[in-house]
């Protein structure tokens, strides 16, 4: 009898336990993410050009799909992944049929097509990323053609093939047509539209709903109980999600330590300290940002830099692993091309790995310079580096002031090049000055508007030789990087003009690259070519450290760590 009772009790307990696993998790707790980066500029995402703005509105508005840490597709507003026709020209998108705007009306394909046609492609709103949706046909720039197929399906038709256009399509988010028509044609009214500035239209399209945005202080969203992904899971599990902006980084760290905030990014040198704390978890994850040392190949840079051998020599002399160890406290991977090793297109076969052994050799560097004519061999056999006249070499290195890591990299390069007898003068300049006087260029004496690449013959206002800067590559669509490396690339400020590189970038965006194997081969070829040419010395891909209170559960550390953040919860 007693045994039976116990048995029943146990059975019930088991049922309870298992059911509690299946039943939606209780939502609770305020998640506060601390940052000392700048505040967003707008929640009206179509106007946004800064990263924070996209991330803010993203909490209330999902894109069509997103990616997990292994770049696998995770469906969001799309019912299935974007389908591409065999010829690579027609993209077909089908959205879920349970998506609703705040007034209860359905989100339809019409909304998407309207957003594309009447807003993004319009000439009155000045969407900054229009070129994403354009193609060049017979020297004319035209937009792709969106078309409604059914209530939940629409197509985008291109006339030229771009294998990487699909990634642009996947990131698309809609505006509600029924609201946007009110403001159509009036950029000022659209900019100031209350519905778009307080995200009151987002219905069930995101895990959170907008609550408050106090400029320079915090952005607060609250759990969206109608979230379309929360029907079965009850997600998201935080009652409130806050982005708190701090005035100074020192205090952000202090706030995490004191438990006043839930998460923030940790500087590399502080990781050791936070690792030692009971209550903190730190996840080290890759990022797509990389640092590079640009060589000025234009006419106002040291003429030696125009020679591939000289660039190779300099890159041979700079120890990337030492730099990662000493400046990034180990949180980095040596970079050899613009494609990060987290990208599906990454290939290192045949790439010249300058800056790590065996292509790290200061003597070798000097010999390369000797061959190129920028050094003389002395009687005792040692090599003395100098310019064509044999005078000591003095190069100017520019980087933006206030960026501690880049300044440190500058100092380290100064140290490294001093070993082979090149004196480096460091110039830390404000970002605005760097842009205006060092990056922008024009043909002297012409009436050109200064731009980042005014073609051959253009030079910057102030001369420079070396420049430390950081860029990011979209790991899924590295071809966008052509702006830096092609003859017409809008950001090719260092003046690298190479027909083979131009050709490869053209091919990677052509029909032949629809075949992923071919594309991979083309990227490998590009990486090899650029590593060989060394227009810039790729230094390192940085690793990021995200610090969380231990109470946060459900995190999958990785490059796209936040992809499932609606499933995170407090213990």
């Amino acid at each position: 009898m007693i045994k039976l009772k116990i048995f029943i009790f146990l059975l019930m307990a088991l049922v309870l336990l298992t059911s509690s696993c299946r039943v939606a998790r209780e939502a609770g707790g305020d998640y506060i993410s601390g940052t000392s980066a700048g505040d967003a500029e707008t929640l009206n995402w179509i106007l946004a050009a800064d990263a924070a703005s996209f991330s803010y509105s993203g909490h209330t508005l999902d894109s069509l799909v997103t990616y997990d840490n292994e770049w696998r597709i995770q469906l969001r507003l799309a019912a299935r992944d974007v389908e591409v026709s065999g010829d690579g020209l027609v993209y077909s998108v089908t959205i879920r049929d349970d998506l609703k705007w705040s007034d209860g009306s359905k989100v339809t394909a019409e909304d998407y097509v309207y957003t594309l046609k009447n807003l993004m492609f319009s000439d009155w709103l000045n969407y900054p990323y229009q070129s994403d949706w354009q193609e060049e046909i017979a020297d004319e720039i035209v937009f792709v053609t969106p078309e409604v197929v059914s209530e939940v399906t629409f197509t985008l038709t291109r006339r030229t093939v771009d294998p990487e256009f699909i990634y642009t399509v996947r990131g698309l988010t809609p505006y509600p047509k029924y609201i946007a028509t009110k403001y159509e044609g009036d950029a000022e009214a659209f900019t100031q539209a209350p519905e778009f500035n307080n995200l009151s239209y987002t219905g069930n399209l995101g895990p959170y709903r907008f609550v408050e945005w106090l400029r320079n202080d915090k952005f607060v969203v609250a759990r969206n109980p109608e979230y379309y992904l929360g029907k079965n899971t009850g997600a998201p599990y935080f009652e409130k999600y806050t982005i708190k902006i701090f005035g100074t980084p020192a205090i952000v760290h202090a706030a995490l330590e004191a438990g006043d905030i839930t998460a923030t990014n940790i500087d590399p040198d502080k990781v050791g300290k936070f690792k030692g704390m009971e209550q903190i978890n730190i996840h080290t994850v890759p990022s797509s940002g990389y640092m590079l040392l640009a060589y000025n190949l234009r006419d106002n840079g040291w003429e030696g830099l125009k020679h591939k051998e000289v660039r190779q020599a300099l890159s041979t002399a700079i120890d990337k692993e030492l730099m990662i160890e000493q400046v990034l406290y180990g949180f980095g991977e040596p970079a050899f091309s613009f494609i990060p090793n987290t990208s599906p297109w990454y290939a290192d076969k045949g790439i010249a790995k300058y800056g790590v052994a065996p292509l790290l050799d200061k003597e070798k560097a000097k010999e390369l310079l000797l061959e190129a004519g920028y050094a003389t061999r002395k009687t005792d056999g040692s090599i003395e580096v100098g310019d064509k006249e044999g005078k000591p070499l003095k190069l100017t290195l520019i980087t933006n002031a206030g960026n501690d890591v880049r300044e440190s990299v500058g100092y380290l390069i100064q140290q490294e090049l001093a070993v082979i007898g090149i004196e480096v003068e460091l110039k830390f300049v404000p970002w605005a000055t760097e842009l205006g006087k060092y990056l922008r260029n024009k043909v002297p004496g012409s009436d050109q508007e200064a731009a980042f690449n005014n073609g051959a013959g253009a030079v910057s206002e102030e001369p420079w030789d070396l420049l430390v800067i950081g860029f990011g590559t979209n790991p899924l669509a590295p071809s966008g990087t052509d702006v830096f490396y092609t003859t017409k690339g809008g950001l090719n400020f260092w003046g690298f003009f190479n027909p083979r590189v131009d050709d490869l970038f053209k091919r990677v965006k052509s029909a032949e690259a629809l075949d992923e194997e071919v594309r991979k081969e083309l990227y490998a070829e590009l990486s090899r070519l650029i590593a060989e040419e060394q227009p810039v010395n790729f230094l390192a891909f940085q690793l990021a450290n995200a610090g969380f209170q231990k109470s946060v559960q459900g995190i999958e550390p990785g490059i796209n760590m936040g992809y499932n953040y609606h499933l995170w919860y407090f213990e």
């Binding site: 320079n216 202090a254 004191a258 006043d260 950081g470 702006v483």
Partner: protein, 327 residues
């Protein structure tokens, strides 16, 4: 005294007129300064645009066109002034808010800080200053003098960080940052303002102590003080009424000037360090974002505020010191 009212009214009208002209001048100068600078509001997007592999020049042109920055300078200026004439202070594109709303939302965060600090600083500073002056060259005086100099000399951006590290991180007495979710008029808010107020007050209090001391000393040896004593007035009345009424004039100038200049700029460091979303951060961020509508408005309002405060100070003078008369 109807006589007084007449000249005072004329005087106020004259000053207001002057303020208007000054405001227009400041508006023009600031507008030109912001717009002729070598930076463009689009600059800060460059890195982001580049990271997405975009055609930069097209994006920059798009952003500049959106805010009308591609038009000639005089046209922008005329537009701006015309809008201003209609009571439209413009749209802050770096925060996506009407400028006037932005200032309305944020002024209270600076004001509460400055208000509390000023009151505390003025009250305590004046008390210590009086004590220090009355007991000149005593131990009290030396200690007050010494500490007030230390207070004046501590850079407050440094003090703020130190206070947070000590009281918030090590001792856990306060939150590491200002929580704007707490209602302004609540005890909790007062509590979380403790460290920021201490930070600002330290410098202010010390200043007021010094000023009060020297203003009191200036008057303590005057003959009317002796008269007051000869009348058998208690020392309290002699100091508090006779001396202080005379010493208060220069003090008011200083306190009012502080109030006027601190609203937009003075609390900036404290706001940064404690993460307070006040006008200081709004103003400076607007400068860094080339958000001319905000910069011009902020300069204009603060200049106007200072002019008004000066006017109020001057009028207060006529009541505090009957000898003063403006013509």
């Amino acid at each position: 005294m109807p006589m007084k009212k007449n000249w005072l009214r004329d005087y106020i009208i004259k000053r207001l007129f002057f303020a208007l002209i000054v405001a227009l001048g400041i508006l023009t100068v600031t507008f030109i300064l912001v717009r002729i600078g070598p930076t463009s509001p689009a600059d800060k997007y460059l890195a982001n645009i580049a990271a997405r592999g975009q055609d930069v020049s097209q994006a920059v042109a798009a952003i500049e066109a959106r805010y009308g920055l591609d038009k000639p300078l005089y046209e922008q200026y005329i537009n701006y002034v015309a809008n201003l004439g209609r009571g439209d202070w413009g749209w802050s594109f770096s925060t996506s808010m009407p400028v006037i709303e932005l200032i309305k939302t944020h002024w209270i965060y600076s004001f509460q800080l400055i208000f509390l600090s000023s009151i505390l600083g003025a009250l305590v500073g004046i008390l210590i200053g009086i004590l220090s002056a009355v007991r000149q060259y005593s131990k009290t005086d030396y200690i007050a003098t010494f500490f007030s100099f230390i207070g004046i000399s501590i850079p407050n951006f440094w003090l703020g960080v130190m206070l947070i590290l000590l009281f918030s991180v090590k001792l856990g007495l306060f939150k590491t940052y200002y929580d704007s979710g707490i209602p302004i008029f609540s005890l909790d808010n007062l509590r979380q303002l403790t460290l920021p107020v201490i930070t600002i007050t330290t410098g202010m209090l010390a200043g007021y102590t010094r000023y009060t001391r020297s203003a009191m000393l200036d008057n303590l040896r005057k003959e009317f003080v002796r008269t007051a004593r000869a009348k058998g007035l208690p020392e309290r009345t002699v100091i508090g009424k006779h001396v202080f009424r005379n010493a208060v004039l220069p003090l008011i100038t200083i306190i009012m000037f502080d109030l006027g200049s601190i609203v937009f700029a003075g609390a900036y460091f404290t706001e940064i360090v404690f993460g307070i979303p006040g006008l200081g951060r709004i103003s400076f961020n607007a400068i860094f974002a080339d958000d001319y509508a905000v910069v011009v408005t902020v300069t204009l309002i603060s200049a106007f505020l200072i002019l008004m405060i000066n006017l109020i100070t001057d009028i207060t003078y006529t009541y505090l010191d009957p000898r003063i008369r403006y013509d």
